[in-house]
Amino acid sequence: MSVEAREARQPWILLAPALSAVTLLLFVPLLFILVYSFWLRTATGADQPGFFLDNWREALTDPFYRDILLSTLRIAAITTAVCALMGYPTAYFIARSRGDKLLMVLLLMLPFWISYIIRTMSWINILGASGAANAALMALGVVSEPVNMLYNEAAVILGLTHYLLPFMILNVFVSLEGIDANVEAAANSLGATRWQSFLEVTLPLSLPGLAAGGLLCFVLGAGTYITPLILGGPRDAMFANLVFEAIITQLNWPLGSALSLMLLLVLGALVAIYNRYLGMTQLMKGLG
């Protein structure tokens, strides 16, 4: 076999396990969901096989789903921006500090040891009417009545940020770690201010990490349903809540299938754009 042929086959050998896992455990099962989305749920709760477009018509034309989808994307975008703002300087600090970096990273994952539901519910103990924040404010005499801070969209974003921030920080940190600190020093020695050298050297080089972290935050944020249930008010819901309700509460798998494929398509399109403009090939070109 020629060297070129071996060289061409090698990546596929490396990709084979991951690709076959995703195909077998995700795409083939999703075909069932696709088939289901054309079925109908009958009044008794049983599913009627066939080829009906009713679910898709409902999912695509009903403004209710469009509105919630848009507000879901908005909440995910805000959360991602907050995570980037909070996370980037923190990751920079870890990467450039002379302390024990591994320990600092491990500390960041500490909240994950407490189950997600419990972690989210603990914000009630912090910000609720009889939570720590209100107790402190009242003890200091700042307020006389507990301030209502929970059960609104801001609380949902707070909960999501707390959940997603480690993903952002770790991704940025990992890419900052890959940048030779000497590059920055070299820029400095050439007369650039620290800020200039950061903007022109470090930031561009760390963009892959920022983009990967941002993508993770956005996608995970857009797919969440437990946080709005615990920290949201009566009206706060995200698209995954609708999917969850259709499948679990209403046992309407056909509609739930159509809705989830819709969310998958929207998020998939965003990822495709990410890969096109911020993704690997693009970045490699930039670096090459």
Partner: protein, 262 residues
């Protein structure tokens, strides 16, 4: 240096934010009362006693750890191989493949859960621990792929090539040059995979075979009835184990190293 001070203050604030819920959970695990009203009324160790006698949650804990470790191992292996292929080789359709590998986190988990079960039913297979493990591998894979890819991009290929030009075989170049450089990303990917698996509720609810509970599903069922502060006690115990023990280990290692050195 002004800027650095600012960054440090910012980072400290972020850590405080991340630790607030942890602090509250630890505090409430010593709370006398079942409910977390502040100011607290008294201290007690009763939730630790209840945790210790709660065989179900201890069993769930062991299941979760085993599941998380296996998930991290498999997922990291698959993810690192795939990321290497995508970054190190010219693969036709690399963008599309990248998107495909991230797809598991684009699907709402409840749908992934049902879809996988429908497929299993079609194959006539029964639920098993292996299926649960595969399910976890699938939705932790994107985390690994993303973080490893981002790191690999910034490792310059010429380092490897330099090694090879100095006579190293491709395998040697990989194991002795690339892998050490990738280590932070591999560790981060494994950490992601473990924690995401350890924390998963929705998929696990659907995939777990009879008699198997993980910590989150156990908690989910307990919450149906009431607040159970022994869950807080479990959180405290785990934090002591994961932070306290490594710190102790590091201190001992340093002590020994100093002895060796001196």
């Amino acid at each position: 240096m002004m800027g650095w001070q600012l960054i440090r203050a910012w980072a400290i604030a972020v850590y405080v934010f991340m630790f607030l819920p942890v602090g509250v959970v630890v505090l409430l695990s010593f709370n006398d009362s079942q409910f977390g009203s502040f100011p607290m009324t008294g201290l007690s160790l009763r939730w630790f006693a209840e945790l210790w006698s709660n065989e179900a949650i201890l069993r769930a804990f062991r299941t979760s750890v085993a599941l998380g470790l296996l998930t991290a191992l498999i997922s990291t292996t698959l993810g690192v191989l795939a990321a290497l292929a995508l970054v190190r080789y010219r693969v036709p359709g690399a963008n599309a493949i990248s998107t495909l590998l991230i797809a598991p986190i684009l699907v709402p988990e409840v749908v992934l859960a049902v879809a996988l079960l429908l497929f299993l039913d079609f194959l006539g297979l029964h639920k098993s621990f292996a299926l649960l493990l595969l399910g976890h591998v699938i939705f932790t894979l994107p985390f690994v792929v993303l973080v490893v890819q981002a790191r690999l991009v910034s490792i310059r290929r010429d380092v490897e090539e330099a090694a090879m030009s100095l006579g190293a075989s491709p395998a040697q170049a990989f194991f002795q040059v690339t892998l050490p450089l990738m280590r932070p990303a591999v560790l981060a990917g494994g950490l992601f995979a473990f924690t995401v698996s350890f924390d998963d509720v929705t998929g696990t609810l659907f995939w777990k075979p009879g008699g198997v509970e993980t910590v989150p599903t156990q908690i989910f069922a307990m919450l149906r009835n009431s607040i159970s502060p022994e869950i807080n006690a479990l959180g405290t115990a785990m934090i002591v184990m994961t932070v306290g023990l490594p710190l102790l280990g590091a201190a001992i290692a340093r002590r020994l190293a100093m002895k060796d050195g001196g």
